[in-house]
């Protein structure tokens, strides 16, 4: 079968993910794209005799190197040399969406334009003359309604046709008075070898693109180019704005020519207006924001627990049967111990929380898909500015409740280095889903009557610690102010169940894989350390793990949990925070043993202190690695040391403070 590469791109809020899901279904994975270590979703579909491999780029408005996302998108476009580039556009705002299309044509890509959300355009009273648009742009255009899976077959056909028949780009924007300057730069560039077309390079240089400038610096023509550009800026100082305005002039013209306006059916727009007055209102907006977060964790907890209990029983049943089976065939005792105490006890006690993880990401996808998350950024903007963060910092931080790793990657939409670093430092304190099993375990034992509120308080304390960290580091390391917040607010709409399920499944799958990988091996190491030396009782104080833990436990005494088991659990939690529970499982021999053992070691007070410590004390190894990747080794070290320090301080202060009452 033939194989072709397709890149999916488009502005944010155009339903790109829905189209990606509709095209590829479950044939997708999140992989690291070689060259830049960045999470790019990859999927595939087969149409006629061809297999299409699809890459889903982050949503961007342009291809300048204004934000990290745009830089990444452009790099991939240039290096991948895809057979087809599909631009998912919001049909109701052709003018702005065509802007990206024109940049892609300047990059000489083989573009297919997908006019998505056509139902919204129709509600707004717009009709697009697709044939005319195809003639003007010289690209294939397809109408789709992603949420209803309308037009997906036509889109596949268009991708297929475009991949079979690659046309030269015929549409060029005439930049009028600037054309002369562009050709001057083109001439100075000569036949420079670069992955970009010459005209694209020339225009970007005139638009002061920092990345392209840096690239030119490495070439022999640099001196010459610099002189030419300086000369251009002397006689045409606002050429940068002029070029952008000309491009918008062109897309405005095309959009007017191809769009017919009819009667407006504004129901959805009116609804969004009403909701927006409420959701970004300084008072009601904040209140509803807190309510949403609180409700999320209650749902995660209440809907998840029946399934959790079911899994618990299943693992206990398995452990019992394996033991009696092994007993009946006279296998050595250590094998039974490894399988039941170690693996089922350890991995099982982590895996039972799978339903909670699934529900958490399901609800998160709903908040994101409905358009609410963008509003949350505005609600928190004022607070964020006071702290020295950007309003948009709220989005990575909220995503951090799911998993810190993609959340830290999401800081790429921030424009300044300062905002990125501060948000990266604050995000690990957002309590991720890996920490959830620890809270579920402890609240289940010690705070049965108000589990939801206890859970909520931990998330609040984590958030507060994150904000405090940002404030502190801002005043020490950074002086400049954040740029003002500007963000598109998509229309509110009912979240797409399919998107929610795919997103929840994807994250659950990662969780299962983690349980089978890093947690599995962690648990085996813990079991070995607990089983040996042979003279010791299993996981007793005289086992290796007991000896190791006792040394560390001294440090934890002031926080109320100076037991070697707690120390070892926290130590292994560094690898993955689920292992805190996994360690207890392996050491105490499964679910049933844990409850009894923990109730005798902890009091409600020290249990809460332990949860605080787990919440704050250190991001997991994967998070430290992603901090290093995104912000550099210096910040990774600072984040690690700071979090251990502040985690210990908070746990000790809490325990010592409340012990008096």
């Amino acid at each position: 079968m033939k194989e072709k590469t397709v890149i999916l791109t488009g502005n944010p809020n155009t339903g790109k993910t829905t189209i990606f899901n509709a095209l590829t279904g479950l044939h997708q994975k999140t992989g690291n794209w070689p060259g830049v270590t960045v999470e790019i979703k990859e999927g595939s579909f087969v149409y006629q005799d061809t297999k299409f491999k699809m890459l889903d780029l982050p949503g961007t408005y342009s291809l300048t190197s204004f934000t990290e996302d745009e830089k990444i998108a452009r790099d991939i476009l240039v290096k991948e040399k895809a057979d087809v580039v599909v631009v998912v556009a919001d049909a109701s705002n052709l003018e702005r969406n065509l802007y990206l299309v024109m940049l892609l044509l300047e990059l000489e890509q083989n573009v297919v334009l997908d006019l998505n959300m056509y139902d919204v355009a129709r509600d707004k009273g717009l009709a697009i003359d697709v044939n005319h648009l195809e003639t003007i742009l010289g690209t294939k255009c397809v109408i789709t309604i992603g949420s209803k899976r309308t037009g997906i077959e036509a889109l596949k056909q268009a991708i297929y046709d475009a991949s079979e028949d690659k046309k030269e780009v015929i549409t060029k924007i005439n930049y009028g008075e600037a054309e002369e300057q562009i050709s001057l730069v083109e001439k100075a560039l000569g036949d420079i070898s670069s992955p970009y077309p010459i005209r694209f390079l020339a225009i970007r240089l005139l638009e002061q693109d920092a990345d392209i400038k840096a690239f030119i610096k490495t070439t022999p023509v640099y001196q010459n180019i610099k002189e030419v550009i300086d000369a251009v800026y002397n006689c045409f100082p606002d050429i940068e704005t002029y070029l952008i305005e000309k491009r918008y002039g062109f897309t405005h013209g095309v959009s007017e020519e191809c769009t017919k306006r009819m009667d407006i059916l504004e129901n959805r727009i009116k609804l969004t207006d009403k909701l927006d007055r409420f959701f970004i209102h300084p008072f009601y907006g904040t209140l509803s924001f807190l309510f949403f977060i609180w409700a999320t964790f209650n749902i995660v907890f209440n809907w998840g627990s029946p399934f959790t209990h079911l899994l618990e029983k299943l693992f206990a049943f398995a452990a019992k049967n394996i033991t009696s089976l092994l007993h009946s065939i006279d296998s050595p005792e250590w094998i039974a111990s490894l399988l039941t105490d170690g693996i089922i006890g350890g991995v099982g006690s982590v895996l039972i929380f799978l339903p909670n993880i699934f529900i958490l990401f399901f609800v998160f996808a709903a908040l994101e898909d409905s358009g609410y998350i963008a509003r949350a950024a505005f609600v928190t903007d004022r607070l964020m500015h006071k702290i020295g963060l950007h309003g948009k910092s709220a989005i990575p931080m909220i995503l951090g409740f799911g998993c810190n790793v993609p959340a830290i990657m999401a800081t790429r939409t921030l424009e300044t280095k300062k905002d990125r670093v501060l948000t990266i430092l604050a995000t690990p304190f957002m309590s991720c889903s890996a920490r959830l099993p620890v809270y579920l375990l402890f609240t289940g034992i010690f705070f049965q009557h108000n589990r939801g509120s206890i859970l909520f308080s931990l998330y609040l304390i984590g958030t507060f610690t994150g904000l405090l960290t940002a404030k502190l580091f801002k005043s020490v390391f950074f002086k400049e102010e954040s740029p003002p917040i500007i963000m598109e607010l998509p229309l509110f709409h009912a979240p797409d169940i399919r998107n929610m399920l795919i997103s929840a499944w994807e994250r659950s799958y990662l969780f299962i894989r983690k349980a089978g990988g890093i947690i599995f091996f962690g648990v085996i190491i813990i079991w070995v350390l607990s089983y040996f030396p042979l003279s010791a009782t299993y996981a007793g104080e005289d086992s290796f793990i007991g000896i190791l833990g006792s040394k560390l436990a001294v440090l934890l005494k002031p926080a109320g949990f100076g037991y070697w088991q707690a120390a070892v659990a926290l130590l292994f939690g560094l690898v993955a925070k689920e292992l805190v529970v996994g360690t207890f499982g392996a050491v105490f021999g499964g679910e049933a043993g844990i409850t009894a053992a923990l109730s005798s070691l902890f009091t409600p007070l020290s249990a809460y202190a332990f949860m605080l410590m787990t919440l704050i004390y250190i991001p997991c190894i994967a998070t430290i690695a992603v901090i290093k990747q995104e912000a550099g080794i210096k910040w990774a070290i600072i984040a690690t040391i700071w979090s251990i320090f502040i985690g210990w301080v908070v746990a000790v202060l809490f325990y010592q403070g409340f012990k008096l009452y």
Partner: protein
């Protein structure tokens, strides 16, 4: 004529973006909002404002909204 942050809901033409927001101006341009454009103010201050242009709504922080100088479009000016 006045800054967007002090305006009431309605249709406006953008006259100028003051130099205090020079860096953010480019960001605004990427979202399709240029000097000379007609916009509609949907939600005024206090708090962030929401404007609409070409069917897209864009939220702006108060800081940004005070940098955008607009002229009200009345029936006569049209």
């Amino acid at each position: 004529m006045g800054p967007l942050v002090k305006s009431s809901p309605g249709k406006y033409k953008i006259v100028q973006i003051t130099t205090a927001c020079q860096a953010a101006k480019k960001r605004l341009m990427m979202l399709g909002v240029l000097v000379g454009d007609e916009i509609e103010l949907i939600k005024p201050s206090p708090g962030p404002v929401i404007i609409e242009k070409g069917g897209t709504r864009i939220g702006l922080g108060q800081g940004m909204a005070s940098c955008i100088i607009v002229n009200k479009i009345t029936k006569e000016t049209k």
